[in-house]
Subunit: 402 residues, 2 copies
């Protein structure tokens, strides 16, 4: 390729992608039985395939002739109204003028960074943080400020220190406040309030990415940043049906100040014109028929049992050798070895033993977590979880012996 | 909103969007009968809704439990292999290592600009050109060079002059070479060859956006830029099923040099993770069952008859008052009034008379076409086309009299 036309690798998050890429490429090659703690997918049995297929016969069947045409860029009216009703009375209650339907939560992040970040702008992210969120921020050439998390979420004293050291205010503060990806921790109410105060002081946009908030094992009672902000235009909320209903539908939404609506529509037109209409119609029917609440109830107890199974297996196999978070919802927990075990090296050994995870450095642009890893407890049954953790134990022993 | 957090309007193509926005907003408000020459949608009767619904029962029914999970970022294997077979022997024949499935053709453009354009980079576009393509280029802060088209497509002498005046080579040359949007013209073989020569000389990426090439009224026999380039990495081809099968599915593909594959996957992960899987499965079944060829045959004769109907109606009503292009395929023709009729003013008068179009300036960042307009002949029956053009005639007379 002519040098003039070389692609801009700095736009494609390649540094972050490389850990995940090499892992998933290796994973795809495996032909033996693998316990998959790697990807953040709902359990196959947690996807309401049968209901969606039944609803599909009406919603996108021969009697719905417009289901395959272009949709409105801000979303199909059927889904918009079903979603507004669904959210009414919850911590994510909103109004029509704040709502833009997106192609999954990922597009919500793409829209936020497109709207707010110029090359070199400072973006504060949790450390560890969501890999693809980092990739999107880097694709707009953000300068990332990694802020450690603890059991109460992002450490705001560290955020203040980091901003002071950087000598400039963050344009965006990106957080997954509830059952964080990858750590599973939840930001406390006090920190939520202080985060909003800091954002107001600095004029920073709070990018409130909350895919797991509806998947608490019990009622956590915490208001979302959206609710706490009470309409403050600095809060930009991203939501998705990927974790609660089905990732393959690629439908989510953005809840943002009405002043941003037209810009969001323009930006989305320049990304994919509109979101897949059959999927919007399917979800509209799913919500309208009242399936979501019951479905969520079932998934919450399913995932609670799985987290418990993983916690017990980890206690059995790794007590004294690692510590791990104890999430009260969501999909993930985060394990840190006390010894200097390189989890990228461990990955290959573990695969050979029949278990997959994501190495910690996939979640840190600066590579701060060489000895940690993310485990998804959501996708495997308790029996498989016990098996997978035992395999992980063998892999750690093998690597230590090597 | 705090000034620090003001959105970057320069990222959202708002200048171009405004003409379309005001038009479509007005259009949405209308409650009376309107002949819709505005949007570039396939005719409702040209969308194979019944076949898709039938295929859906198997492809995304209860027997396909993984149809709602995440898809591979570069596309579902079922669609990838069906598409490779479908393209085999055509001017778009390609290989697995060049193919990335996208969320419509629009995402193909978003990927290309993300990969190749830094703020201030020169991008040559046809004038008039596709509105959302302009929006995407502007969202990466491209500097646009408008190059006039004539009946043989982009005027390459004008391109050379423009590049000389700009004093720098274009990073990207964006073209819709076949049945261009909005003009309906097709780039001649000689110009296709010369365009590739110029791109090689300058080291420019040719962004070959060809949504309509399969919709020629007869066999035009022109090789695509993809075929002519014979694997030259400078050619980046964007294709879509939106015009040939159904826009609501939001599925297209990019055909690019294998060296770009991993960057494309990273970039797409940062946009929407993957493309809607049920839609990919539906299209895979549609192709595998051999429906596409027969479907295209039917649409070609349908659209030929509609173009002919529009040409005849225009001759009846506007001979001597306007000239218009005579496309041999696709969806659009381009009409230019000989008098200085402002087509943005005309739009409102026409709506009141019951006919909609897109004003010419929506297709030119510099606003070069105040007296032209785009007519989509694809979405209306010949009878409705005759009615719509008669209404347009009345609107022009009313505006002239006012």
């Amino acid at each position: 390729m002519n040098p003039h036309a070389l692609p801009l690798a700095h736009r494609t998050g390649f540094l972050v992608g490389s850990v995940i890429d090499s892992s998933t490429a290796l994973l795809a090659e495996q032909e033996h039985d693998i316990v998959r703690f790697a990807m953040g997918s709902p359990a196959p049995e947690a996807i309401p395939t049968k209901i969606l297929a039944e609803l599909g016969e009406e919603a996108i069947g021969a009697d719905a002739p417009d289901a395959f045409d272009y949709a409105a860029t801000h979303g199909d009216p059927a889904l918009r109204s079903a979603l507004l009703s669904q959210l009414s009375g919850t911590s994510d209650a909103t109004s029509d003028d704040r709502l833009v339907i997106t192609s999954g939560g990922m597009q919500g992040l793409d829209l936020a960074y497109k709207l707010f970040v110029d090359p070199g702008d400072l973006v504060a992210v949790e450390s560890p943080t969501y890999t693809n969120g980092t990739a999107t921020a880097l694709s707009y050439e953000a300068a990332l400020l990694e802020v450690p998390v603890d059991e109460d979420g992002m450490q705001l004293d560290a955020l203040v220190d980091g901003v002071e050291q950087a000598g400039r205010r963050p344009k965006v503060i990106y957080t997954v406040p509830t059952f964080q990806n990858p750590s599973g921790v939840t930001m406390s109410l006090a920190r939520r309030r202080r985060l909003l105060d800091l954002a107001r002081e600095w004029g920073s946009v709070v990018l409130d990415d909350d895919p797991y908030g509806m998947l608490g094992f019990s009622d956590h009672g915490l208001p979302t940043l959206h609710e706490l902000a009470a309409g403050d235009p600095l809060v930009f909320s991203v939501r998705t049906f990927s974790k609660t209903v089905a990732p393959g539908l690629r439908v989510g939404w953005v809840d943002a100040d009405p002043s941003l609506r037209q810009l969001l529509i323009h930006a989305k037109q320049a990304m994919d014109t509109c979101t897949n209409l059959p999927a919007q119609r399917l979800l509209a029917a799913f919500l309208r028929e009242g399936y979501l609440d019951e479905h969520l109830r079932a998934q919450r107890s399913r995932y609670a049992a799985r987290k418990q199974a993983m916690h017990e297996a980890l206690t059995e196999h790794f007590a004294g050798r690692a510590h791990w978070t104890d999430p009260t919802g969501g999909f993930f927990l985060w394990l840190t070895f006390l010894d200097a075990i390189d989890t990228q090296e461990l990955f290959e050994v573990a695969l050979a033993q029949g278990v997959a995870f994501i190495p910690g450095n996939a979640f840190s642009p600066q590579g701060r977590f060489p000895h940690a890893l993310r485990l998804c407890f959501a996708s495997s049954t308790p029996e498989r979880i016990a098996q997978g953790v035992a395999r992980l134990h063998r892999a750690v022993d093998l690597l230590a012996a090597a």
